[in-house]
Amino acid sequence: MLQVGLNHFLFVSAILFSLGLFAVITRKNAILVLMGVELILNAANINFVAFAKYGTGGLHGQVVSLFVIVLAAAEAAIALAIVLNIYKLFTNVNVDEIDNLKE
């Protein structure tokens, strides 16, 4: 059981994913929400790399994770820009308070 295998990595990634999701859902600050997103992406990445090692996928998994890291950066940049814009408009970045658009 303690012998580390694929499942252990997947277990870590699952927890990371859940925590990321938790952050996205619960944190008010938009930047913390973004951090949650990063956690989710990292969880996925762990999976890819783990499967690359233990599974039949080979290096392709690592390639994917590389791409994901780059995409995460781009996404973070755009998201941050938007958050800054929000800050300019609303003088706060609390996601739950920005709900003018609704029924």
Partner: protein
């Protein structure tokens, strides 16, 4: 329990615990720092998985880029004088219920699954192979990413720049 296992548990604990703090501490800046440890732990896991190049990229891009970006974001969205860079929580109860269920399902499914495993270990160094893959099989995506980054750059500047445009905008 081999050294590999010990390191795994080390990095795993580091990752999970700091991630837990990321989502739970009030202070946004503290969260950022905990995120640093999480990312670092993940990088460690990469190394354990034989993905040295990915680990390096993780450290450079994530820690060196994204995290800094996020911290800048924290600074910029709070007045400097504002000491309380804190963030409350919302939706906690539904989140615990929903995500608890979800995580349970995830974990149980993952552990029960018979993954397609192959005994062959990964090659010792991956940089060469990776590089080859990037410019052969994935060359299109590679180029596409370049364009994506360019577009993202333009997009980000477009939305975040200070300069005021035409006043007629509503």
């Amino acid at each position: 329990m081999s050294l590999f296992d010990i390191f795994f548990y080390l990095f795993a604990l580091l990752t999970v615990i700091s991630a837990f703090f990321v989502v739970s501490v009030k202070n946004v800046v503290h969260s950022g720092f905990y995120l640093l440890f999480t990312l670092f732990g993940v990088a460690g896991l990469y190394v354990l998985l034989g993905a040295d190049f990915v680990a390096v990229t993780q450290v450079m891009v994530y820690i060196g880029g994204i995290l800094i970006l996020l911290l800048f974001g924290v600074m910029l969205t709070n007045k400097i004088t504002n000491v309380e860079i804190k963030s409350g929580a919302t939706n906690v109860l539904p989140a615990i219920v929903v995500i608890g269920t979800f995580a349970g399902a995830l974990v149980s499914i993952i552990t029960r699954t018979n993954w397609s495993e192959s005994p062959s270990p990964a090659p010792q160094t991956t940089i060469g192979a990776l590089g080859k893959l990037l410019i052969t099989d994935y060359v299109l995506i590679f180029e596409l990413l370049a364009i994506l980054l360019l577009v993202a750059l333009i997009g980000a500047t477009s939305i975040a720049r200070k300069k005021n445009e035409n006043a007629s905008e509503v």
